[in-house]
Amino acid sequence: MAVERRAEVLSTTDVGRALTRVAHEIVERNSGVAGLVLVGMQRGGVWIAEEIARCIASFESQAEVPVGSIDVSMYRDDIALRPVVPAAVTDIPVDITGNTVVLVDDVLFTGRTVRAALDALLDHGRPRAVQLAVLVDRGHRELPIRPDFVGKNIPTHLSDEVDASTAGVYVISTSIGNEMRKKEVS
């Protein structure tokens, strides 16, 4: 029988600290906030994009960074392989053409969602540059995609699940997953 193990890897405080650092890095890399747009990927990335915008507003005076959200379901490469139902409507409040878009997601895994997000984004305009910020990078990339800003690198097993929210980041592994791990080692 599968036994689920849930391990905390980041506490609420750690999440807040990691996002504050990411917010600083974004401002530093872009020498300010001019022309910056944060776009959260539905659904997990949206609260993170809002949180980063709040952080930036708290230390950069008069810095209102526009925040949008993007749903990438219609751009996925696994439509018809599994049920893909859009999570929420896309809402990008400003013209992204000529601006620097920071795509924001909670967990970076295979990179396929980011690939889909890049295609989705380009249908809304031609950004000057696109950067990627994630709270957690759990590895196992299947495409040549790398993040620009990472809250925390967490090595995981392929069969693990990662749950990221304001309540912290947890890695959920099952005993079935552990057996698979043993098999891979032997």
Binding site: V84, V89, S159
Partner: protein, 314 residues
Amino acid sequence: MKHLLSVEELTADQLASLLDLTDHMVEISGRPVPKVPALRGRTVASVFFEDSTRTRLSFETAAKRLSADTLTFNVGTSSVNKGESLRDTIETLSAMGVDAFVVRHKSSGVPHMITEWTDASVINAGDGWHQHPTQALLDCHTVTRSFGSGNDLSGRTVAIVGDVKHSRVARSNIRAFAMLGAEVVIVAPRTLLPPEIIEWPVRVVDALDDVIDDIDVLYLLRMQRERMDAALVPSLGEYSARFGLTPQRARRLKGDALVLHPGPMNRGVEILVDPVDLPGSRILEQVRAGVSARMSVLYTVLSGGSVPPMGGAE
């Protein structure tokens, strides 16, 4: 969901998720580039054995916005005129690699029959007097989004007026509006009511004046002139006097009441006012919602997962 043949086959959850997905498609349709790659590589064939420009174009526009390829089977110039059977036509098209058939036919049940001859998805775009499910979907979307009450119409009264007996639109819409919780009132001459109406979840009245002051949605059906010849109504003038939306009746509508019509309109018969003068008219919104609702249906039948999810979701 593999096929969409009838509203009767939909569960309340499926209806709600088609309506929610339509919101997405509305957003996509409003973009500078109203096209997504979702159904790239899929082929949608429209097979219309009965004339309908607007429904066919609406489906084809929907398929193109989802990047599907489209084929149009034109009955007028096809081998049907050389005596090819319906089944041979479908099997021939299937062999070309069609993933979904959008079918309209004058006989009830044809879309259902076609599902037995092909592995492709089948979408009913109107069969005889039976069903027109995408019309019901776009009408429900138009009404619910106008009221801003999610997918819930409880406490609302919808009056469907006209030739219910010969109307696939009425059959689909009655069921769909009732599933969303609305009270459905049928307003029609007795001669234009089907015998099975006693089994439907509706109230029947025989004059528009009896309900015009209290309804939230006025749904006018097209009065088909050929019914006149069958002596089902004494004259079109008499029909208009009792069942038409006249300027006097339009003034009696509630302030937020909506007026819908599936088109094409018979001005001077079922509608005797210019719709542009009706603040509650949603007739053009219906056409707009039509493309998005059909995108929602095409996406749903063609994206059905055949393999369970792999690993953790990103």
